[in-house]
């Protein structure tokens, strides 16, 4: 392999001037495609191909074993009459709307707490970061379920301070909340990103405002938040897209039916159930495309609103 490029170069330099010269100056087509060949294969065979196929399948009845049968928009229409699909949309929407702000608020609070030059910051940052590496694992979902089982540790602890939810894992009113808390427990990843953003906020601004008599809260709202708004936006976007795709923890905690009473029937769980338990693959493909549409619209919406509250340095506002 090592000799390929020089030989080719020698050949190229032997060519008369013309279109070749430009090709040579502007780099190396062949080498570029060679280095990129695994990625090109991957993107064609495992991304673009499957994407187009699933779009086609979403307009068919397909059970993996007989040929797909064209049904037009039937799958899409059926979704809106499918009580379980509507339930899964509701569960996912509530989860995204609650879990993302809770997690980001927790992450920002810890980042602000850690953001000072004292010794030990590195250690604490690592300690808070740790859980986000294991939070989405089966192991942790099992642990979480044990902690939140009715009449288990969390239940008993809260009763000591006078809070009685009547159980968590088995209680339809709180089962989703328990997964929201599991999401928030993984605050480490956005926290590290917030911390990096906070380090960029000039100390002079805070000092000047302090001299002018601005209190902590005012300084946080008027200086820190606008200064780190690009980081807030980045975290918000990432966490929202991720929250739509929660699967492992929900599957371990609630199983394929989203127990109790369908309250943990996440969109991805229902998609898995339809596609890989019932082999209703046309319907599952249509569901996947609706998910893509939903995530796409939310992303667009976030970008739209961002104009109003995300400030980039050099922005004249």
């Amino acid at each position: 392999m090592a000799t390929v490029a020089p030989t080719r170069q020698a050949e190229a330099s032997g060519q008369p001037a013309g279109p070749r010269t430009r090709a040579r100056r502007s780099g190396d087509g062949v080498a570029g495609y060679l280095f990129l060949s695994p990625w090109i294969l991957g993107v064609l065979l495992l991304t673009i191909g499957p994407m187009l196929t699933s779009l086609y399948l979403s307009f068919t009845d397909y059970n993996l074993f007989t040929a797909p049968e064209w049904v037009g928009l039937d799958n899409y229409k059926r979704m809106f009459e499918d009580a379980r699909w509507l339930k899964s949309v509701q569960v996912t929407a509530i989860y995204v709307a609650v879990a993302v702000p809770v997690k980001l608020a927790a992450a920002l609070a810890v980042a602000v707490l850690l953001n000072n030059k004292r010794k030990g910051q590195g250690f604490y940052r690592a300690a808070f970061y740790g859980p986000s590496l294991i939070g989405a694992s089966v192991s942790l979902a099992i642990v979480w379920k044990a902690l939140f089982t009715d009449d288990a540790v969390v239940d008993r602890m809260l009763r000591v301070v006078g809070i009685n939810t009547g159980g968590w894992a088995g209680n339809p009113d709180f089962s989703l909340m328990m997964l929201v808390l599991l999401g928030a427990w993984q605050l480490g990843a956005p926290m590290v990103i917030f911390l990096a953003g906070l380090k960029q906020v000039p100390v002079e601004l805070h000092e000047a405002a302090h001299v002018d008599g601005a209190g902590r809260w005012l300084r946080f709202r008027a200086i820190t938040l606008p200064m780190i708004s690009p980081v807030v936006f980045f975290n918000l976007l990432l966490e929202t897209i991720n929250a739509f795709q929660v699967f492992t923890s929900a599957y371990i905690v609630g199983g394929p039916n989203g127990s109790p009473a369908g309250t943990t029937l996440f969109y991805t769980i229902y998609l898995y159930d339809r596609g890989f338990s019932d082999f209703r693959m046309g319907y599952a493909s249509a569901m996947a495309w609706m998910l893509l549409l939903g995530v796409g619209l939310i992303t667009l919406f976030l970008f739209r609103t961002a104009r109003g509250w995300v400030y980039y340095s050099g922005d004249r506002r």
Binding site: A5, Y33, M51, S54, L64, I134, T299
Partner: protein
Amino acid sequence: MKLSTVAWHAGVIAVLAIVLYPIVWVVAATFKPSEDIIGGLSLLPTEPTTVNYERAVEGIAGISIARFFWNSTVLAVLSVVGTVASSALAGYAFARLRFRGRGAMFALMISTLLLPFHVLIIPQYAVFQRLDLIDTYVPLLLGKFLAVEAFFVFLMVQFMRTIPHELDESAKIDGAGHWGIFWHIILPLARPALITTSIFTFIWSWNDFFGPLIYLSTPDKYPLPLALQLFVDEASGSDFGALMAMSMLALVPVVLFFLFFQRFLVEGVSTSGLKG
């Protein structure tokens, strides 16, 4: 130590205690008899026992836990090899080479960054089924060797862009081709990006549940997350201690990676601090 420093440490430790409580609780719980686990508020086991771990090591369905560890390790190591190799190659092309269509392909790569994989899995599954590759590791690994994880390609590109071009130029004068430049100059300098990619790929593969869930059906081939789920189904409630112990054992490699990675970070910071 100043009072404010003490207060800060106390505050941080208080918050940290809440966050780390589940871990401390479960580690303690694995040394308690099964029936003491669920309602047990006290952290210290009254009668410490290793019986949970002994049963966890025995495994499930007649398959020892070593088998599941081995399966997880095979998957994780091959994932790391494939991802690092394919993303480094693609990163080099995007960051250092000029060729027709590069811009368009780069944009395509970026647009796959946040694509929900659900729009891909059904056709992928159908094709792998047609090729008789269900219940093998091929569907779980093929994408890794084809740089499907755009995040790591992007990471490589970002990193390789910062390497000064003078280095390639002088290597070119010495007669090195693209492979030589890639292998002898770019790869060694891109080590931090390679390490980051390896660590994340390993952990993601180790924790992956969805892929094995849809593609594997023989318990003999299960990686740990799937084995744990099998355990949940089979021993629900009855053998709680062993289930917890097995969950903890499954996390050990991730924790080790984390600790090692941390040391790596701290070393980097302290050496640059010394220089500065």
